[in-house]
Symmetry: C2
Subunit: 385 residues, 2 copies
C-alpha cells in the first residue's frame, strides 16, 4: 500500500522511520510515496511537496497520515483526501475532538476508514483497545493521566523539590513542553483527549465548551509540600463516565491521590489511562503518551488495522450534552480571594488560603471557580480522590 | 454464529452470561448451542451433554470455547473440534503452554483459527495486544505479575501484617486460591503464562522444563518485615526477553521492588504485565487477571476477533532453547543451610540466615538453589530489581 504523509515533524518522521526501517513482516508492503511539508528535509527532496493536490490526485496513494497538528488547513486537507476516496489516520487531537462528527460521516459516505488511535495516548494502544473493549463490554468510566508534559512537571516538582516555573523550563529543555506551554498546562490537550475517549467509550459527541478544564498553571511549591504532608500526590486527570440517568459527565482537573494509588507511581512524562468495564472491572494502560517513535508506532498500527480491516459494527455517535452535576468530590482550593460561593462549601480551613470543601459536584466547583479566578487568577484547585 | 462450550465452571458460565445478557451490538448474532459438562446445572438441561460428539458432529457449531482446564481430555476434545473444522478459543494455560505447536499446526492445517487470549492475563487484553504490537514493533522484554492468587497473598501479608498461611487461608475463603494452591504458590501458573507470552512475543516455542520457577511458598512474615525496612515490596514476576545473541531467557521468581515502582502499587488480586518495544518503550497493562466475567469477556473478545477476523500475517514459531545465563541480578536468599556455591556468591551477610548476593545469572542462582533446597526446603529466594 502506498501512503501519503501530511506533516513531517516529530510524528510524521517517526512514521516514516518505522515504515522504512521496521523489521516486522507486516511492514513490507507499505511505502511512503509523498510527503506534504513546508520545509524540505535534505535527502527527502524526491518525496516532499507543498501542494496537497499531489496527494489528493494521486490514485496510487490509498491512505493518508495527517500529523500536521492544528485545525487549519489540517481539516481541509483531510476532508479533501477522504472525499478523494483515501483512508485517513490522524494523530491530531485538536482536529479529531473538534470535527469528530464531520470526519466520521465523510469517511462513511466515501466508504473509507478514518482512524485516530494516536490522537489520545500516544504510544499506548488506548483508543484501539477501548474500541475493541466495547464490542463486548459496557464502559462505565474512564480516567487518567493523558498529558506527559504536565505529568513530567508535577513529578519533577516532587522529586527535584522545585517550583513550577523551574520544572516547566526543564520540561521545555528536554523537549517535553513547547515554547508556548498553555495547551498543556491549562489542561486543553487533556480536555481534547478526554473528549475523543469519551466519544468512543460512550457513543457520543461532546463539545469542548461543555467540558471544564482546570490546569496546573497555578500550582506552587508550597501546595506540593502540603500534599506530601498529607500523603497525597497531585496528577492532572481526564475524567468521563456515564451518570445513572445515562447522561455523560466529562471534565479535566488536577486530582490528589493517595500515594499508594497506581497513578501516583506513574513517573516522568508517562501516561496512565483507565477504563472500568461492567465485565472486566478496572483496566489500566501505562506507557509513553507522546514522542516520535511511540506515537509513530500508533499511526502504523492504525495503518495495519486499515489494511487488515478489523471491522466491527458501525456505531452511531449521538450528539450529547455533558452533565457534570451528578459526580461529587471534595476539593482542595488555594486562593487569596473569598466569595460567598466559597464560604458555602468550605468544610475545613487549613490556613494560608487553603481550604478543603465538602463533597460538591464538578458543576458546583466550576461555578465557584469562576468567581475565585476573577478576583484571584492564581487560584489553584484540585479534586481529592 | 453458533458456538459450543467445553466446560461450564467459572469461565464457561461467564462466557454464557456475557453472550446471553450483554448489550453490545456485536453480541447479537452469537448463540451458545451446546455445553459439555459432567454436572447438569438446573435450567441448562436442554444445552448440557456429556458427549463430545454432540459438538464435534454438529455442523451448525462453528466455534468451540474450551474452558475445562487440565491437559486431558481437554487436548483430545480440542483436537477433535479443530479436525472437524471448528474454530477454537481456549482459556486453558496448561493446555496452551504444553501443546502450543500441535494446536497451532492443527488449526493451520484445518484452516480454522485457534485463539487463546484468556489463557494469560485473564480480563486484560494482554496477548491480543502483544500480537497486535509485534505487527509493527520489536518486542524486547516482557515482565510482570500474572497470578492474582500470589499477588493477593503478598499484598495481604503487608497490609494485614499476617503470615503466609493466614493470607493463603483468606485467599481460599475468598475464592482467589484453590484447595490445592500448589500451581499458584509454586509459580507453575505464572510459568505457563510466561511461556505463552514469550512464545507469542518472540516467535518461539519454549518448554516448561527449561523455565525455572521459584515460588512464594516459603516466604515468611519476617521476610516481609525485612523488605519493608529496606523500602522493598515483594511480587511474583514472570520474566522473559531476547538476549543480545538473539536467544531467549525466561524464568519465574519473586522480585523485590522499590516501593515507588508501578508494580509495587498493584494491590489485591490484580495483575500488571509489561512489554518493552523498540518503538513504544515500556507499555504496561493492569487489570483483573482472573474471574468469571473478566476472563469470560476475554473469551468473547477472541470469539469476536474470529468472526471479524483481525488476520495478520502467519508467523512461524521456532522451537527454541532458553538461555538464562545472560541476565544478572542480585538475589535475596534466606536459608538455614550453607553450601560452597552459596558462599561463593554472597556479597552481604544480613544475619538470621539472610544473604544478599553479588549480581549473578538466573542460571547460577538456579544451580545454587538446588543445593540449598536439598538441605533446607524452607529456603526463600527473591530477585532484587
Amino acid at each position: 500500500m502506498k501512503i501519503g504523509l501530511l506533516g513531517f515533524g516529530v510524528v510524521g518522521s517517526g512514521v516514516y522511520d518505522i515504515i522504512a526501517n521496521g523489521t516486522a513482516l507486516e511492514l513490507r508492503n507499505i511505502e511512503v510515496k509523498r510527503i506534504i511539508s513546508l520545509v524540505v528535509t535534505p535527502g527527502f527532496e524526491h518525496l516532499i511537496t507543498k501542494n496537497i493536490d499531489d496527494i489528493v490526485n494521486d490514485d496510487e496513494i490509498e491512505l493518508v497520515v495527517e500529523a500536521m497538528g492544528g485545525l487549519h488547513p489540517a481539516y481541509e486537507f483531510v476532508m479533501a483526501c477522504i472525499n478523494a476516496g483515501k483512508h485517513v489516520v490522524s494523530s491530531n487531537k485538536h482536529l479529531v475532538s473538534n470535527y469528530f462528527t464531520q470526519l466520521n460521516e465523510a469517511a462513511e459516505k466515501n466508504n473509507v476508514q478514518f482512524r485516530y488511535t494516536p490522537s489520545a495516548g500516544g504510544g499506548i494502544p488506548w483508543l484501539s483497545t477501548l474500541k475493541r473493549a466495547r464490542r463486548s463490554d459496557e464502559i462505565e468510566q474512564i480516567w487518567g493521566i493523558v498529558n506527559g508534559t504536565t505529568n513530567y512537571i508535577l513529578d519533577s516538582m516532587v522529586k527535584d523539590d522545585t517550583d513550577f516555573s523551574v520544572a516547566l523550563k526543564e520540561a521545555q529543555r528536554l523537549g517535553y513542553a513547547e515554547a508556548d506551554p498553555s495547551a498543556d498546562i491549562d489542561g486543553l490537550d487533556t480536555q481534547r483527549k478526554c473528549i475523543i475517549s469519551a466519544n468512543l467509550a460512550f457513543d457520543v459527541v461532546i463539545d469542548e465548551k461543555d467540558v471544564p478544564a482546570f490546569g496546573i498553571r497555578n500550582i506552587t511549591h508550597s501546595d506540593v509540600s502540603y500534599f506530601e504532608k498529607n500523603g497525597w500526590v497531585c496528577k492532572l486527570f481526564a475524567n468521563a463516565g456515564r451518570n445513572q440517568d445515562d447522561s455523560v459527565y466529562a471534565y479535566v482537573v488536577p486530582v490528589l491521590l493517595d500515594k499508594f494509588e497506581i497513578e501516583a507511581g506513574v513517573a516522568s512524562n508517562y501516561n496512565c489511562i483507565t477504563y472500568v468495564g461492567k465485565y472486566v472491572g478496572r483496566s489500566s494502560y501505562i506507557g509513553q503518551g507522546a514522542g516520535k517513535l511511540p506515537t509513530g508506532n500508533s499511526v502504523v498500527q492504525d495503518i495495519l488495522d486499515t489494511i487488515f480491516d478489523d471491522a466491527s459494527l458501525k456505531r452511531e455517535y449521538k450528539k450529547s450534552a455533558v452533565n457534570n452535576a451528578m459526580v461529587a468530590h471534595r476539593y482542595y482550593i488555594k486562593t487569596d480571594s473569598a466569595t460567598p460561593e466559597l464560604s458555602e462549601i468550605i468544610e475545613k480551613d487549613e490556613g494560608d488560603g487553603r481550604y478543603i470543601t465538602k463533597p460538591v459536584s464538578i458543576e458546583c466547583i466550576q461555578k465557584t471557580a469562576e468567581g475565585l479566578f476573577e478576583k484571584c487568577p492564581q487560584t489553584f484547585i484540585a479534586e481529592i480522590k
